[in-house]
């Protein structure tokens, strides 16, 4: 569709773009990335023909850019400008109608049905029909940008060039605009080349990315080949980390700040715990990185309050999360800062212990109710309804855990818990075999992410050893307390 061959060009004597070559297929969306001054805008101007190139050629459907007359070129290629203010006021309709200019000819050039249909379709796609007779200047920036998208779409050109289309737009408008454009590439096979400032948006929407560096192509390829930590760091000269997008297989980038934040060295101890009749509370002054299977704020995140709330054995609620949030709010815990769990056992029976390691202490909290114990290896044999009875395990670490260490901590803690159940001979009442846990166990691993870096947390590491020992000891003790409370043992 579009072929760029050894293109060089720039202003005056300076070659801002040097020897750039690539091809874009029909219906493809290509994103151009690069730091300020890397030649992105100049490249786009060379492709659109606004800036004459010093050498090389641009081929549209195998014909050179220069061989097209002004109007013919506009029929092949539409350009969405960067938003700027207008000296005169135009109605939305007049603005969109200008997109039909290349399709009209002759002195009188009447407005055809085809022109009208194209304008109406473009306004519908960009959802600006209701502004049709309003003045452009009275619309918000986001709405104005949509009007210019409509103008470009009314041009009905198979190629669309965009220069930072989401500039100055809020995220709702960014999404709307890019959704509209992406839909065009899928439904009408429009070919899109767009400059992006935002690497994440580009990665999310583009089929391929082109990373510019000092006027040349650093790399061109699919998002996962371009949005790499090493490449982005080298070109942008900024420390970044890549993460995965929650819904799409497209890499995302976050900046890692180099500002030394003024924080006090905080050591977490058992003193951070408070136990009342209603809940076990852990409260830190700083947020801890947390992985958990809690009711509120499960998954990973940064939180400073952990609440293990006692509920009645007959607790039943249709919307547990909502009820729990109301409970937390009533007790002065904000959703943004708090991980919330539930237990049916007496919170005053919680076992909390601190263990020394060479790098810093770890604290373990366990509440155990085993009235509902399950042998996971035999669970498939019996039909079961969820019932009350839960083991909640918290492991809080003074240190910096890697992602691997977080997951290994969960494994180690779970293995220790299972061993504790075996030691206490807790049985699955349905199968009569030794239970491995209960049907609703929950675990929480939290770390200060300051101090010693801990890459692994398997059973033979320093931390793993203490997690294993701690969770085992605490769980055994918690089960014993539970049995006593239930009168199973004297």
């Amino acid at each position: 569709m579009l072929e760029i061959k050894n293109v060089s060009g720039g202003y005056d004597q300076k070659l801002v773009v040097q020897n750039v070559s690539f091809q874009v297929k029909k219906g493809e969306m290509l994103g151009i990335l690069g730091p300020n001054g890397s030649g992105k805008s100049t490249l786009l101007k060379l492709i659109s023909g606004i800036l004459p190139m010093k050498s090389g050629e641009v081929l549209i459907e195998d014909k050179t850019l220069q061989s097209f007359a002004s109007k013919e070129l506009a029929k092949k290629m539409a350009v969405l400008p960067q938003l700027h203010s207008q000296a005169f006021s135009h109605t939305v309709r007049d603005t969109v109608s200008l997109g039909r200019y290349p399709h009209q000819s002759g002195w009188f050039s009447s407005w055809s049905n085809e022109d009208e249909a194209a304008v109406q379709a473009a306004m519908k796609l960009t959802a600006i029909q209701r502004y049709e007779h309003q003045l452009l200047e009275l619309l918000s920036g986001g709405e104005q940008q949509r009007v210019f998208v409509a103008q470009a779409l009314a041009q009905q050109a198979p190629i669309l060039l965009l220069d930072e289309p989401t500039n100055h737009l809020d995220i709702a408008h960014q999404k709307q605009l890019l959704d509209t454009i992406k839909t065009q590439t899928i439904e009408n096979e429009i070919t899109v080349i767009s400059i992006f400032h935002d690497i994440n948006l580009a990665s999310l929407y583009c089929d391929r990315l082109l990373l510019m560096d000092q006027g040349q192509i650093k790399v061109i390829g699919e998002p996962q080949e371009v949005v790499k930590k090493s490449l982005v760091e080298a070109v942008y000269e900024a420390r970044v980390s890549t993460t995965s997008h929650p819904e799409r297989p497209k890499p995302q980038v976050t900046i890692l700040p180099d500002v030394m934040e003024r924080y006090k060295e905080r050591i977490i101890t058992a003193e951070n715990f408070k136990v009342t009749e209603d809940y076990v509370l852990f409260q830190a002054e700083i947020q801890l990185k947390t992985w958990s299977s809690a009711v509120i704020n499960a998954g990973s995140g940064w939180y400073k309050n952990f609440v293990n709330r006692r509920v009645d054995a007959s607790y039943a609620c249709d919307n547990v999360q909502e009820e729990m949030l109301v409970y937390l709010a009533n007790n002065g815990f904000s959703e943004a800062d708090t991980v919330g769990m539930m237990t049916a056992v007496r919170t005053t029976d919680a076992v909390i212990k601190e263990y020394k390691t060479p790098f810093g202490n770890i604290i373990i909290m366990v509440t155990a109710g085993v009235g509902n114990a399950v042998d996971v290896s035999r669970a498939y044999e019996v039909e079961m309804l969820p019932a009350i009875g839960t083991i909640n395990t918290w492991v809080i670490v003074n240190g910096e855990l890697s992602d691997e260490a977080f997951i290994q901590s969960v494994i180690t803690a779970t293995e220790a818990k299972t061993k504790a159940l075996a030691f206490e001979q807790v049985k699955d009442p349905r199968t009569g075999t030794i239970a491995t846990g209960t049907s609703t166990d929950s675990v929480l691993i939290a770390a200060t992410q300051k101090g010693t870096h801990i890459p692994y947390a398997g059973p033979i590491t320093e931390i793993g050893k203490k997690i294993g020992l701690g969770v085992y000891e605490c769980t055994v003790e918690a089960i014993q307390v539970y049995k006593k409370a239930k009168g199973w043992e004297s």
Binding site: G49, P81, Y101
Partner: protein, 331 residues
Amino acid sequence: MSKSMIGYIMSISVLLLAIWLGVSVGSVKVPIQTLWDTGADAIATNIVWKIRMPRVVLAGLVGASLAIAGAAFQSLLKNPLADPYTLGVSSGASVGAVATLFFGISIPFLGIFTLPVFSMVGALVTMLLVISFAKLVDRGMKMETIILTGIIFSSFLGSVISLMIALTGEELRQIIGWLLGSVSMRGWSFVQMALPFVIIGTFLLWINRRELNAMLFGEERAKHLGVDVKKRKMMILIGGSMLTGTAVSVSGTIGFVGLVVPHMTRLLFGSDNRHVLPLSFINGASLLIICDLVSRTIISPTELPIGVITAFIGAPVFAFIFFKQRKKGGV
């Protein structure tokens, strides 16, 4: 009925009213029927056909030319303050005209068109210089840059004119009278001299009405929309200079018509050049006919220069409409 349709009906009505007043009002009141009544009083017929009518037609042509040229310059430069007067183009045309009179130039081939042709050349050269200089100063060609450049050129060209006037002897009176701006005592020969250029210039601008709409969004945008910017820009500059040069050569420098009329037209009927250009043409004619009428009646028997009236009426009217529109727009 569409907004532009209302615009045309209103504008033509106002023009007819202006012509009627222009023909019949004056030191001698003449009924409009004299124009077609063959049995009318001979003196009245003479007044109407030899004095009033050519004056009304010439005022109309000058007003129409300046207004449509102003509308085109404003769109071309994306500059609401541009008009032949503020851009210094009128001064350029004056230099061309004064030089023709000063040196007594008469090119046989051009005949009576020597004056307007030199005026046009003066206008075009000035226009090109103003644009090139403004671009040199500021690539973005901001509104203020262009107007300041216009002022610089106006002042310089004004001094050139003064110098030529100082050096003339007997021609002085003629040139001074002409410089102040007037359409009186010109007769049909001036109409004849101006008409062909008004038609060609207007036509050049009118065929670029859609291109001007695109250029309102900037030259780069216009190019992306498929406008052959280089060619179209030249056509518009030639058309605008032709109209300005012609107007100046027959009536001297009359300011503000090219600024006020397109503004009023846009505020009332929208800024689509397909309608702004013809409507400015009609309304420009009406405005100048009325201004001329006021200039010769307000302190009669003395006549005021018409430029005084255009500035005096134009500015407050513009201010009023501008204010009203802003209020309505709720900005």
